[in-house]
């Protein structure tokens, strides 16, 4: 039995590299068959808002996130409070091929896991 893993994605894209390097770590876990579940919380919910970063010469993190379901990462949560505080509706925060779930109580989700990776 290996550990269950939650990836906690807390940072907005582009301002720092936490979001990008978090995604890379999640994909690496999935490639090793250690498929994490993913919680977008705090400014991390902005990662799921459609983006167009050409003018700042970055790759679209939003587009790269769409790869998650293809790698078997299908349990994806969004903190409801975080989305609401930022004026975002669930319909604006979507991943193709994944059933993104709104979460009211992040604390009780977190404690279900053995390990939590923070990004």
């Amino acid at each position: 039995m290996t550990n269950s893993i939650l990836a906690l994605c807390r940072h907005a894209p582009y301002g720092t590299t936490f979001a990008r390097e978090g995604l890379e770590a999640v994909l690496a876990c999935a490639a090793m068959d250690q498929i994490p579940e993913v919680l977008f919380i705090n400014d991390g919910v902005y990662q799921l808002l459609a983006q167009n970063p050409q003018a700042i010469a970055e790759k679209s993190l939003y587009r790269n996130l769409q790869a998650l379901p293809m790698f078997g990462v299908e349990r994806i949560y969004i903190c409801q409070r975080s989305a609401t505080e930022r004026g975002l509706a669930l319909s604006q925060l979507q991943l193709t091929g994944a059933d993104v779930q709104l979460l009211e109580d992040p604390g009780s989700l977190i404690r279900r896991f053995d390990q939590v990776l923070s990004f």
Partner: protein, 130 residues
């Protein structure tokens, strides 16, 4: 118990680098073992052989190296994060045609699979922010 430490902080930039070292010592002093220390994000700068702090500031590199020697620690630097930020082994420097290598002795470059494995297999994982 087996601990894995994930270090995001660069020395002489964020305190997390020093905190991780102190925590590692406390883990070992408590009789537990360290499965791996994984340096990610800016934390990869902990593996730079060129960092030269002033005499009156702590030298984290030498302390990590001493700990590595005395406890055969696995000090893994994420290769992708390190390439971007300019910490290279001899073989990486050759492969990428860069003019020099600067990965410190005692540290190993490896992929994110090492983080996945450590997360899956160690009893506890503690992250040290940047």
């Amino acid at each position: 118990m087996q601990f894995t430490l994930v270090v995001y902080g660069a020395p002489h930039s964020a305190q997390g680098a020093g905190t991780a070292l102190r925590f590692a010592k406390a883990v070992l002093a408590s009789g537990h073992s360290i499965f791996r220390v994984f340096f990610y994000g800016d934390g990869i700068h902990n593996g730079s052989a060129l960092a030269t702090p002033p005499q009156d500031e702590q030298d984290l590199l030498r302390q990590w190296q001493a700990l590595q020697q005395s406890h055969q620690l696995d000090l893994t630097v994420c290769i992708a994060a390190a390439q971007r930020r300019g910490v290279l082994s001899e073989s990486e420097a050759n492969r990428l045609e860069r003019p020099a290598a600067n990965l410190a002795d005692g540290f190993t470059l490896a992929g994110l699979g090492q983080l996945a494995e450590a997360t899956a297999l160690s009893d506890r994982l503690v992250s040290f922010g940047g």
